[in-house]
Amino acid sequence: MPRLSYRRALTRALGDELARDEAVFLLGEDVQVGASLVTTGLAKRFGTERVRDTPLSEQAFTSFATGAALAGLRPVIEFQIPSLLFLVFEQIVNHAHKFPLMTGGQCRVPVTYLVPGSGSRTGWAGQHSDHPYSLFAHVGVVTVVPATPADAYGLLVTAIRHDDPVVVFAPAGAMDVRDDVDDLAPVPLGRGRIHRFGDDVTVVAIGHLVHDALAVAEELADQVSVEVFDPRTLYPFDIDGLTESVARTGRLVVLDDANRSCGMAAEIIASVVERVRLLAPPRRVTRPDGAVLPFAPALDRAVQPGRDQLATAIHLTMKDGS
């Protein structure tokens, strides 16, 4: 079976969609050379008209993409830094996302916002290390955070073909994951995936943390049977899939590499407890409230949710419920 890295899966998805549909084009900063190592080779293959380097004008090129989408194209924007989404939050939420409703269904805005390297990139410190996916879920913009190369390919392809705006977070912690992949196919939005079945507790892990959750589940295998659920899409969320899992295990822990207050973990827990009576109080392992990632590596690690914290949360949930 061919091995594929997460990063190359993104490249492959972009190349396949550019080849399949003339309406697709790519724009962003340094995408022709491929400074992110994701758009590598695409300008040579598809030309600089369809793989466009932009000036450093995030707000303008984000709304430029909205206009191009209103005129029938399918732009994909690559953002170099996750915090650039703060700069264009207004353009995405107030314009791209709101246009279909505000015009009474006269238009669609199929734009994909791709953020390769979201979350902590060790050593890049405070302004490069955010993971603002909950903001987009909150406002109702389709938000995906693939964990594996196959899902990175499949969800990016689906995002590009989707008729509404989609933000694709590709966590820095997952970019170098490699996997045996035999067939690459689109992955539907709003459908989670159980990576590991278990009986005692369901761990929901987002993005790169899926791999940490799997490692912890393996470590604890002789003490507790852990099910690992990867939502893949945060909005719309596969609440039916997760409910089915938690209804079996009766316990829930969420692992979320983002700030705690009003985060995805809170939303996931609330959505589950609205539907399922748990055997023990649910737990979440997240970044602290209001966290800014400090520079020094030990400090950076200290505010990211870790495997030890997850193991502890699992033990506590088991104890609470027994």
Partner: protein
């Protein structure tokens, strides 16, 4: 090449004028909720610019956006129904005054966010041209927008990629209560010059002057030129927003300035170019159109609350409901 059409131009400014006057009445009567930003006094700009456009062209406007939508040829009845929040409105009652749009005639919408239209129109024009059309676009904005980074970025992008967008600054002297002199360092035309965008200043109160300037710019753009800017000097005859009819703000505009400003009326200026008979005929026609629009709007059904989020997602995604 469209030639001068004094009657057509008069019809447009007269229509916008009467539409806005009736809309203000409907605000006072409670049939339009939330109020409007009347385009009264600025009619000549939308009318003149839109007279220079062809069928494939696109435009995007502002919070003070009724004039742009009407001048482009949207159905006044459906426009007024939109302001009244009816299902028959251009946006099925989902947009209202500040979001009125008619994509079928290239109106990508009024827009409530100051400075937002430039980048959207630049992208739309670029995309249409990539798809083989001869489209040019117009981005309308006020003097307040020239201090928005988003718009200045759009100037740069349009100029850099030679996207034929006519940037039309409706300089009515104020952003709400803030005079231009208190907000704009340098000049509006100077901002265009910084990006190598040709700019002209015109008398926005004369619809024909605006049309001639827009025509010349559109012709150059269609012949392969990049973006251009027109600064149209104008005066808003009434309030910034109809809330000022209820809550009087301090005299931020000197009374004698208001008198002088209102003396240069685009409807009168264009009307004087018509024979009395022609003018009277247009007035009667416009009155009938606006009367019919009011009747249509007020007799149209209101949307069903069960459908409040019907158009939220073009993809057909449905949102979770908010109830317990």
């Amino acid at each position: 090449m469209t030639d001068a059409d004094p009657v057509g131009l008069y019809r447009t400014v007269r229509l916008i004028r009467r539409f806005e006057e009736r809309a203000v009445e409907l605000v006072h009567g409670g049939q339009i909720v939330g109020g409007i930003h009347p385009y009264l006094g600025q009619e000549g700009i939308a009318a003149g610019v839109c007279a220079a456009l062809d069928a494939d062209d696109v435009l995007a406007g502002t919070h003070r956006g009724h004039g742009h939508v009407l001048a482009r040829g949207a159905d006044p009845a459906r426009m007024l129904a939109e302001l009244c929040g009816r299902v028959t409105g251009l946006n099925a009652g989902r947009g209202g005054s500040m979001h009125a749009a008619d994509l079928s005639i290239g109106v990508l919408g009024a827009n409530a966010i100051v400075g937002a239209s430039g980048a959207i129109i630049t992208g739309a024009v670029w995309a249409h041209r990539r798809r083989g059309r001869d489209t040019v676009g117009v981005s309308f904005f006020g003097d307040g927008a020239v201090n928005e980074g988003m718009l200045l970025e759009a100037f740069n992008l349009a100029a850099l990629w030679r996207v034929p967008v006519l940037f039309v600054c409706e300089n009515n002297g104020y952003a709400t209560t803030m005079p231009v002199a208190g907000a704009v360092a340098g000049s509006i035309a100077g901002r265009a010059a910084a990006f190598g965008i040709p700019a002209v200043q015109v008398d926005g109160q004369d619809p024909e002057t605006v049309r001639v300037a827009a025509r010349a710019a559109v012709d150059r753009m269609r012949a392969g030129g990049g973006p251009e800017l027109i600064e149209a000097r104008t005066y808003r005859f009434d309030v910034h927003h109809t809330f000022e009819h209820a809550v009087r703000l301090d005299d931020y505009r000197p009374p004698d300035e208001v008198i002088r400003g209102r003396a240069r009326d685009p409807v009168r200026i264009q009307g004087e170019r018509l024979t009395d008979t022609d003018r009277a005929a247009v007035d009667v026609e416009v009155e009938a159109t606006v009367d019919a629009a009011v009747r249509f709007a007020l007799s149209s059904p209101e949307p069903d609350p069960a459908d409040a989020l019907t158009y939220l997602y073009a993809s057909g995604l449905t949102a979770r409901t908010g109830g317990g």
